[in-house]
């Protein structure tokens, strides 16, 4: 209970699903051999943390930000540029963290003070504008960021796949640097999610929810809403940058497509909404469903598309083409906002489906 900050999943099925997901993630290196499974598991961890941090904004304060990938990208690029420039050592990792996290927090502070002060409705538009400017900036400053190619880098010795920590003959599994990196990603993501649970269940988190429900009334009660919203924005940015750092460490690469593109922003939105806004747990569920679908359903779509084109059906092959996967996600997104505004978690907690949770 302590570790969950007194906010348990509150549904037997949900608890079961979460336990299964977490156990499966923790055991991925041993249960599912192969690089793809490990990649998928690492991506789920990173995105669970990233989406949870977005949930702090969307689900708990009710403000829509389109700049979340920017903070994610800042984290990714900070570590990538540090490791690229200073060589694969721990000092570079530390530099990346020490530069990346404060940078993200400062930028979030600036955006928050500027746009949350004016009018809540501006926030979504202004974050969209700032994020797109940042994206252009990142691709233009190619001497620093590597432009469209991004930056590939080497990890410190300990985290490389070639580093064998425990050889195969001891347990039947080889524990190498790659697996160590995976557990690093797993542990840090878990810590960040638990920290977010702590934040949303603190008095501060209650104020955020009060602001979401009725900003005017929260202000009348004497809370400085701009301060609270800006603070939440900075916290979310910090966690997003942290997730970005993990992502870059895992991929050994940072580039516009993996850390900045607008489609990642849409993915995050989808995961939050599918999982359930304002629950934090929804982030884990949403990220798991989405990334599993992204990695395994897409190939299914390819098969369906081929079958449809062989059957000579018009239009359908184009619509089912794996590249059009976003189309179906978009439809799913609209449907879930409309029919399941509380997402999977909200449904499991409250099967009757009456309105509750973080949908406003």
């Amino acid at each position: 209970m302590m570790i969950l900050s007194g906010d348990p999943p509150r549904s037997r099925i949900l608890t079961l699903v979460l336990v299964v997901i977490i156990l499966a993630l923790a055991a991925t290196p041993f249960l599912f051999p192969g690089a793809k499974a490990l990649n998928v598991a690492a991506k789920i961890c990173v995105f669970a943390a990233l989406v949870a941090s977005y949930d702090l904004l969307l689900g708990y304060t009710g403000s829509v930000s389109f700049a979340h990938t920017m903070f994610y990208g800042i984290g990714s690029y900070a570590i990538a540029i540090a490791l690229y420039g200073m060589g694969p050592n721990w000092a570079a990792v530390a530099t990346g963290i020490v530069v990346g996290l404060p940078l993200a927090a400062l930028l979030a502070l600036a955006i928050g003070l500027f746009s949350l002060r004016v009018a809540a409705i501006f926030f979504a538009m202004i974050t969209l504008a700032v994020a797109s400017a940042f994206q252009v900036l990142a691709s233009q400053l190619s001497w620093l960021t590597g432009g469209e190619d991004g930056r590939s880098f080497q990890l410190p010795e300990l985290l490389r796949p070639g580093t064998v920590l425990i050889s195969k003959n001891l347990f039947g599994f080889e524990i190498n640097g790659r697996i160590l990196t995976f557990y690093l990603v797993f542990a840090v993501s878990a810590l960040m999610i638990l920290a977010l649970l702590r934040v949303v269940n603190s008095p501060f988190g209650r104020v955020l929810q009060a602001i979401r429900e009725n900003r005017f009334r929260a202000e009348a009660l004497g809370f400085r809403t701009v301060f609270h919203l800006t603070y939440a924005n900075c916290l979310a940015a910090l966690v997003a940058a942290g997730a970005g750092i993990l992502n870059a460490l895992w991929l050994r690469y940072a580039g516009p497509d993996t850390s900045l593109s607008f489609s990642i922003m849409l993915d995050i939105l989808l995961m939050v909404v599918i999982g359930g806004m304002g629950t934090i747990y929804g982030a884990i569920i949403g990220a798991s469903i989405f990334i599993l679908a992204q990695n395994y359903l897409q190939s299914l779509m390819g098969v369906a598309s081929k079958a449809a084109s062989e059957a000579g059906m018009p239009l359908l092959p184009g619509l089912l083409h794996p590249d059009r996967w976003l189309l179906w996600l978009g439809l799913l997104f609209i449907a879930s906002v409309y029919f399941f505004p509380t997402g999977v978690v909200g449904r499991l907690r409250n099967p009757a489906g009456d309105k509750g949770g973080g949908s406003h």
């Binding site: 500027f114 409705i121 979504a124 997104f333 906002v337």
Partner: protein
């Protein structure tokens, strides 16, 4: 507040001309900085043309927000749809497009633009009914729903037309420039300016001189009151939404001709630009939107000429500066 006798004329609203002077001042300020008068004239003309196109695209968005408090993140989709529909007309009549006669060119251009407007307007009807109607009064869901709509629209365009960039050549008679002394002004920009100005004047006339416009303006200021007086503001809003979508479609055609290409992701970049314009102008204000569009275009053109590196963030800087000056945009119309 002073008491007014019944016979006194109503007090005139104060005219706020500072925002109008802003683009003029900016343009004049640029003369010494740019140095050569001919480049200045060319750049100014380019800004005005670009501004008009952005205005046409943004006007619908700002009206929709002002009237019904609906923030449509999918507005960009209407732009892209408009542009794609125009290619449908352009492709079979390629010969007429290439013909060196203004009238034959216009005979293709005008139906293409009208068809685009009709299709985007009809799409607006569907979007309003399906996506926006269920989530009235809920900003968060509106943003999510319309963002979803934007994804679906964009992906459908990809599925129907493929991911490649479709070239959209300018009609022959609109190519080239008018040369006045040593000043060159592209012909198409003149046309864009004329159309933009016409749209602006038409919107202003409808808003200020007709009963329909009176109702729209009243609805922007106080929706409940208009409803209480027995007008069906929902229907009014649907009309505004469709008009806004149709204008976005027209803007899309014009923008596609300006860039001479069509791409499904064109809506992404333009959405950002339009948002900046709408924020600068003040949500719900047509006049503010007009000035905002010209300002954004001026900053883009002058900035691109003077300090190309700055062009990337110039729009953001402009927005920051304006919001520092007037936190709710140039003209704050709504009380929201």
């Amino acid at each position: 507040m002073t008491d007014l006798a019944a016979t006194d004329p109503l007090p005139k609203p104060k005219r706020d001309i500072a925002p109008i002077l802003l683009p003029v001042a900016l343009a004049l300020l640029m003369i010494p900085l740019i140095g050569s008068t001919s480049s200045w004239l060319t750049l100014t003309a380019a800004s005005l043309a670009m501004g008009m196109m952005i205005f046409i695209m943004a006007s619908g968005l700002t009206l929709v927000f002002g009237l019904m408090d609906v923030l449509n993140f999918g507005h960009g989709a209407f732009i892209a749809v408009g542009a794609y529909v125009a290619t449908l007309v352009f492709a079979p009549f390629a010969a007429s497009v290439q013909a060196d006669s203004l009238w034959i060119n216009l005979a293709v251009l005008a139906p293409a633009a009208l068809l685009s407007m009709a299709v985007s307007g009809a799409l607006g009807l569907v979007v309003e009914r399906v996506l926006i109607l269920p989530v009235y009064g809920q900003h968060l869901k509106q943003i999510l729903m319309t963002t979803g709509g934007l994804i679906v629209a964009e992906q459908t365009l990809y599925a129907l037309w493929g991911p490649q960039i479709i070239p959209m050549p300018l009609p022959t008679s609109l190519r080239g420039s008018f040369i006045l002394g040593d000043v060159a002004i592209a012909k198409y920009r003149v046309l864009a300016m004329l159309i933009g100005l016409a749209v602006f004047i038409a919107i202003q006339l409808v808003l200020n001189r007709t009963k329909l416009g009176l109702l729209i303006r009243a609805g922007v200021e106080n929706r409940e009151m208009v409803e209480a007086l027995g007008y069906r503001i929902r229907r009014l809003f649907l009309g505004v939404f469709m008009t806004g979508s149709a204008l976005a479609g027209l803007g899309g055609v014009m923008w596609a001709l300006y860039r001479e290409q069509v791409h499904a992701s064109m809506s992404d970049d333009l959405t950002v630009l339009i948002f900046i314009v709408v924020i600068i102008g003040g949500l719900g204000s047509i006049g503010g939107c007009f000035i905002g569009a010209i300002l954004v275009a001026m900053v883009a053109n002058y900035g691109g000429f003077l300090v190309p590196k700055l062009a990337l963030v110039s729009n953001i800087l402009l927005m920051v500066a304006i919001l520092m000056w007037r936190p709710r945009g140039l003209y704050a119309v709504t009380s929201r």
